[in-house]
């Protein structure tokens, strides 16, 4: 749109800008408060990479609304994935549980994009090894459809009908210096096979 080379425009079509992401997260934060009856026993766990800053933002938002300090952590699912053998071994993310753990809590898993549902399945397995939450819920910024497992999100920032050939990338200021959700053209099969670093950008 603008003359200067824009990093977002280079990736494809921006479907959510910073302001829209902010509004979506505000709504999700309210919904979490509503569904968890005030958020007393809630724990937010972000799935690396981009689920973690999203979880922190939601926790900050909930803190603003209700003067409530919601415990917030991260849950790496790499070692529980079922598609490890489809790509070269990848670096691990950080798992950090908040003080108090997850036993008996309402855990809200937070991720950027919900796609096949395999990441969430791995997260449920990883969570089982860490404790026994009372309830587990799922919050995602973008639901792009094409589920391969019987999994759905409890809180969705935006439903984004896509083709499986397209890529959806979530950019967040904490990681990418800018906030945006971008739909890009299909990656070619060669890139797909090597599963390179490009796939880390919010491919769920």
């Amino acid at each position: 749109m603008c003359a200067a080379p824009n990093p977002v425009a280079r990736l494809g079509l921006a479907v959510l800008d910073a302001e829209e992401i902010r509004r979506a997260l505000t709504r999700i934060a309210h919904e979490i408060l509503e569904r968890t009856h005030g958020g007393d026993e809630a724990v937010l766990l972000g799935i690396p990479t981009r689920g973690v800053p999203l979880a922190r933002r939601l926790a900050a938002r909930i803190g603003e609304f209700e003067r409530l300090d919601v415990p917030c952590g991260s849950l790496d699912v790499t070692l529980h994935r079922d598609d490890l053998r489809l790509r070269p071994a990848r670096a691990l993310g950080r798992t950090e549980l908040p003080v108090g753990g997850v036993d008996g809590k309402t855990v809200v898993l937070v991720d950027d994009v919900l796609y096949s549902g395999r990441t969430v399945r791995a997260a449920l397995d990883a969570l089982t090894d860490l404790g026994r939450p009372r309830t587990v819920q799922l919050a995602v910024l973008v639901d792009r459809g094409h589920r391969e497992l019987p999994i759905r999100a409890d809180y969705v920032g935006k439903n984004l009908p896509t083709s499986q050939r397209e890529t959806v990338r979530v950019l967040l200021a904490e990681v990418d210096d800018t906030d945006a959700v971008v739909i890009g053209p299909a990656r070619d099969a060669k890139n797909d096979a090597t599963g390179g670093a490009s796939a880390s950008g919010g491919q769920a």
């Binding site: 790496d76 070692l79 529980h80 490890l84 053998r85 489809l86 790509r87 070269p88 071994a89 990848r90 670096a91 691990l92 993310g93 950080r94 798992t95 397995d125 090894d129 860490l130 096979a193 599963g195």
Partner: protein, 317 residues
């Protein structure tokens, strides 16, 4: 990462840092009530040990089991090897049983390298003769980084750390792997040993050499004591054990020469009273127990990075 881990020289700085960082993450899992991960479910790891070893074998076994791999232990004593089977035939047998990784400890230098040419799975060198023991060097690097630099060092090397390796360098695969790996990571390595216990080619190694331990200690952040390998001592490399320990053994007086922050390492098993005095081995500066704990997580990291992903294109037949 390559498909095998034979030598510390095979690791680029990025490879080494990936292993170190992965080990740090896996180390956090060791504090959890449930330590098992499903990552290598259905894969088979064979521990092929032609030499006696307790800690290395148990360490690899624990690492593989925590990642849910099936472990088969094969020790030369009481096996077909005692009946005269060659390494190649043993390798072909393992191949037929479908081993995804073979961890080999062998008395001959180069055994792991030969084995890598015969089996389809990954080969991890757990010590070959007087050649190399790369996972020991990796666990030492993890220990040094955490003790000297603290947690949260992901992606950072050991630039500027001064490491002095003391003792029987000639017979030590630990020393060779450490010199290669630590210099790759940016550390400055000095070998302190009697001339008879230094290999001829030491001039070509990326390190400096000294015959005087006392002058090196005040400039060391890390001092790594090597075991005097009496089982490999066919010649008299020094006049007597007492004389060796007077000149190159680490006792409390020598430890006092070290800077305040410096740490004392030993790959084990120790000869207390020979290369290291008991009160030094048990002092808070000693990292010997941490080294053992880090050994499991480093080996988990190596097995995960070698076996956890897809087979690299082009390397399998």
């Amino acid at each position: 990462m390559k498909r095998h881990l034979i030598s510390a020289a095979d690791l680029s700085r990025d490879d080494a840092l990936l292993i170190l960082d992965t080990a740090e993450e896996l180390g956090r899992i060791a504090d959890r009530p449930i330590k098992k991960l499903p990552t290598l479910r259905g894969r088979t790891v064979v521990n092929l040990f032609f030499e006696d070893s307790t800690r290395t074998r148990i360490s690899f076994e624990a690492a593989a089991k925590r990642l849910s791999a099936d472990v088969i232990n094969f020790s030369a004593k009481g096996s077909s090897v005692a009946k005269g089977e060659s390494l190649k035939d043993t390798a072909l047998t393992l191949e037929a049983m479908g081993a995804d990784a073979v961890v080999i400890r062998h008395g001959a230098s180069g055994a792991a390298h030969r084995l890598a040419g015969w089996v389809r799975g990954s080969v991890v060198n757990a010590g070959d003769g007087t050649h190399e023991h790369p996972t020991q060097a990796l666990l030492d690097a993890v220990t040094i980084r955490r003790r000297l630099r603290g947690p949260g060092q992901d992606g950072r090397g050991l630039d500027g750390v001064r490491v002095t390796i003391v003792g029987d360098v000639l017979h030590s695969r630990v020393a060779r792997s450490n010199v290669l790996l630590l210099s790759t990571l940016g550390a400055q390595v000095t070998l302190a040993a009697p001339p008879t216990l230094l290999p001829l080619a030491v001039g070509s190694w990326p390190c400096s050499v000294s015959y005087d331990l006392d002058s090196e200690l005040p400039k060391s952040d890390v001092v790594m004591m090597l075991r005097v390998q009496r089982e490999r001592m066919n010649d008299s490399y020094f006049p007597s054990v007492r004389e060796y320990s007077r000149r190159y053994g680490l006792d409390a007086t020598r430890m006092a020469l070290l800077p305040e922050h410096a740490i004392v390492m030993h790959p084990g098993p120790m000869n207390r009273g020979v290369e290291i005095a008991a009160d030094v081995a048990d002092s808070p500066r000693s990292t010997i127990v941490e080294q053992v704990a880090n050994g499991v997580t480093v080996r988990m990291a190596v097995l995960y990075l070698l076996l956890g992903g897809a087979e690299l294109p082009g390397v399998s037949q």
